[in-house]
């Protein structure tokens, strides 16, 4: 099965526009879940979520804080794991990844949901098509 997502145009504070690849995902832990439009970032090692989301889902995090280079510079994160459901147009068109390692951002100003490579990209063939669409095809070995 191949899931298809798109790039969306965002207006920047300086009036210019940029296009970003946005994927439709559900973050799930036990009986709690939230659906997000997340940025797909092939340059990010780990999937990152805000602490607000981790708290809402009731995720347990490692006690040790790690440092991670983020958009606001060096920031503190705590490791955790979550189920990520990649949604398609229909309910049956979805791909589920369980127990995906993630980084929970501790800085309250780091509020982005970003899908990184580790624990995600090895399960799919992902094709970025000239800022028009992004296709996700689950690799058969999984």
């Amino acid at each position: 099965m191949t899931l298809s997502y798109k790039f969306k145009k965002f207006k920047l504070e300086n009036g210019m526009y940029t296009k970003r690849p946005i994927v439709d995902i559900i973050l799930k832990h036990e009986d709690k879940y939230l659906e997000f439009g997340a940025i797909l970032d092939s340059g990010s090692d780990l999937t990152t979520i805000p602490k607000t989301v981790a708290d809402y889902l009731g995720l347990k995090t490692e006690n040790a804080e790690l440092e991670m280079v983020g958009y606001r510079g060096m920031g503190k994160v705590r490791e955790s794991r979550v189920t990520i459901i990649f949604k398609g147009k229909a309910q049956r068109q979805e791909e589920i990844l369980n127990n995906v390692p993630i980084a929970v951002m501790q800085d309250p100003f780091e509020e982005d949901v970003i899908i990184g490579t580790f624990g995600v990209f090895e399960y799919f063939k992902i094709v970025f098509n000239d800022t028009k669409n992004i296709s996700f095809t689950r690799l058969s070995k999984f």
Partner: protein, 65 residues
């Protein structure tokens, strides 16, 4: 039937620049600068809704090294 993701991707969100938005049923239910405030608004005003949530980021994203 249009999904919340499709509706978001096809509609102009410029007026929500810098904010988090919660979308359900082909409309923006709530918006806020802070995610925790948005989640509370949705829970209070639309307790049965399971919206699509995203941030309309108006700053350039870049990695620092």
């Amino acid at each position: 039937m249009t999904t919340n993701y499709e509706w978001f991707m096809e509609n102009n969100m410029d007026k929500f620049s810098g904010k988090w938005v919660a979308i359900d049923g082909n409309k923006v239910l709530e918006s806020d600068m802070k995610l925790d405030a948005l989640l509370k608004k949705v829970k209070d005003s639309y307790p049965k809704s399971r919206p699509f949530i995203t941030k309309i980021r108006d700053k350039l994203l870049r990695l620092r090294s």
